[in-house]
Symmetry: C2
Amino acid sequence: VQNNKNQTLSVQLKDRSYNIHIACKYPQLEIIDLINKVFIITDHNVENLYLKKFIGEAKNVLGFYSIKAGEQSKSLTQAEDIFSAMIKAGADRKTVVIALGGGVVGDLAGFVAATFMRGVPFYQCPTTLLAMVDSSVGGKVAVNHKLGKNIIGNFYQPKGVYISTDTLKTLPKREFAAGLAEVMKYGIIKDAAFFTWLEENKDKLLNLDPETLSHTINLSAKTKADIVSQDEYEKNGLRALLNLGHTFAHAEETLSGYGKILHGEAVAAGMIAACHVSNILGKMNLEECDRITKLTEYFDLPTKLTQLTTLDHFFKCMEGDKKNQNGKIHYIIPESIGDCNPPMVIDRKIIEEALL
Amino acid sequence: VQNNKNQTLSVQLKDRSYNIHIACKYPQLEIIDLINKVFIITDHNVENLYLKKFIGEAKNVLGFYSIKAGEQSKSLTQAEDIFSAMIKAGADRKTVVIALGGGVVGDLAGFVAATFMRGVPFYQCPTTLLAMVDSSVGGKVAVNHKLGKNIIGNFYQPKGVYISTDTLKTLPKREFAAGLAEVMKYGIIKDAAFFTWLEENKDKLLNLDPETLSHTINLSAKTKADIVSQDEYEKNGLRALLNLGHTFAHAEETLSGYGKILHGEAVAAGMIAACHVSNILGKMNLEECDRITKLTEYFDLPTKLTQLTTLDHFFKCMEGDKKNQNGKIHYIIPESIGDCNPPMVIDRKIIEEALL
């Protein structure tokens, strides 16, 4: 597959439509054409690596706020502190919030933008693979509550997303792999040809070949954007497919303690669990299960959930997932690679059989 | 003016349209036709007066949360505690949040509904005049930040508003009068005939005559709904007219300390200040200024701002208002009763002359 390195994708959401720009160069504020003042939200790691380069000669920066990297920063307390910094810097309703960082920065900055003075314009500059292919696309913004992840948030679309594959060079290998779990997910739920392409290009991908990266991000973001365009507010079940593996991952993450296991790692193990369930239900054949497991292993991602020692806890955790309705767990189960079922209720015994 | 006592108003906002129902009977959950479980947010006063009657025989109540009455409850900390209560009660994405109370309950419950699991359905059952004619209409939901009122929030429309004028019988006189300030505002900014009608019916209004109340609420809510329909997100300046008197009121409230002066009281004094500015600018004649002052006095509302001893503080406070842009104070100044100018920048000397 041949691709230009610079690509633009359109996310069609009526008056909330926007573009995703994919380029190789490191991210720069000047490429976002803005008249108004901007307030940048980032984390300490990204600040050290990119903030100076990002700002460059720009004269429209009102201020920035740098959080401690990691999920624990996604809290109302942290958001409140950012509001203070913004007010003190003189931010008003026209101030543009820019998220420069990974998923945590994007989710938190998006929530801040959605709620500051009832919503200010917002741009995403994702610097991790996970953020590029998943969290920066789709308008889900949130912070965590002590009783659950992403419980507090909004649907709030950015005005634009600026992706620079250059930033992946400084991304820790483990974080890169975590992003690949979500990339694989798009192949499994919707695009068998893309999954095969990933199998064929796995080495180039791990070697950060620019064209391979660009194509991977483009196809992943496009798949997500297509689904989001058809189900922005998670009303018709289509968007739920993006949660493949996530119900298991949610429990895995909660029981490991946030930060011990990366989200993408939990998703990888969760997807394989969903494939096993599918196989038991007579859907996915063993050969496809194996292909998924093999690629997962190749990417150095976990293939097994680790928090199953107390099964009751695990199910209790899955029951607390916000995707559930009327207290029943709704599972996303693939039919085969490239084809996925809408959320379904499944007998606990079948799930246990697949997990153990 | 003859009116049916039961009226329905439609707020036209495309796929976010909803109805406002005005009735005399005390509010009842059963008149809201809901399949899903509900979670009620109220305050201690309203809980004691109405909660039992409101719930009646309804079987779909998951739980309720009662806050301490007053502006200080409109905080992120309070919202976080309500999220905990909702999660513990088993609330999910389909749970309906109902605000039963005044403006504080409505703003806070609306923010909770807007952000719980990225938004759940929300109904307003306002029990104060201010909430009926102002805060329950228009979709502004918010909590306060220590550095400013309503700094954190969203535009989030309810699925419906249920008004029962019966609840005004138990509303303290001072709170009722505060609501009348916003009622007068609608006459001044958009409807001279309504203002004259208010002058003619002021006694019936103060005596809580049901038909007079119903007409007053209907016309006020309709005026607000019309403006909101044309400018939902405060983009074209029309919605800004609703802020007549509010720039002054904002400083007055902040400097008095929240809770010392009621919002409507500050707005009353602020509107008269705006009329004086208008007069100095050669717009509103003295006769109209007097009519507004007289009706304000008749309603036992303040006609003068009380926090002008340190003028610099007062202007500093007005500068912090979130309606400003680029650090410049934007004033809403009436042209005459029933006609209002878009936001304008005015020389500080003219404002001082009007205030002192």
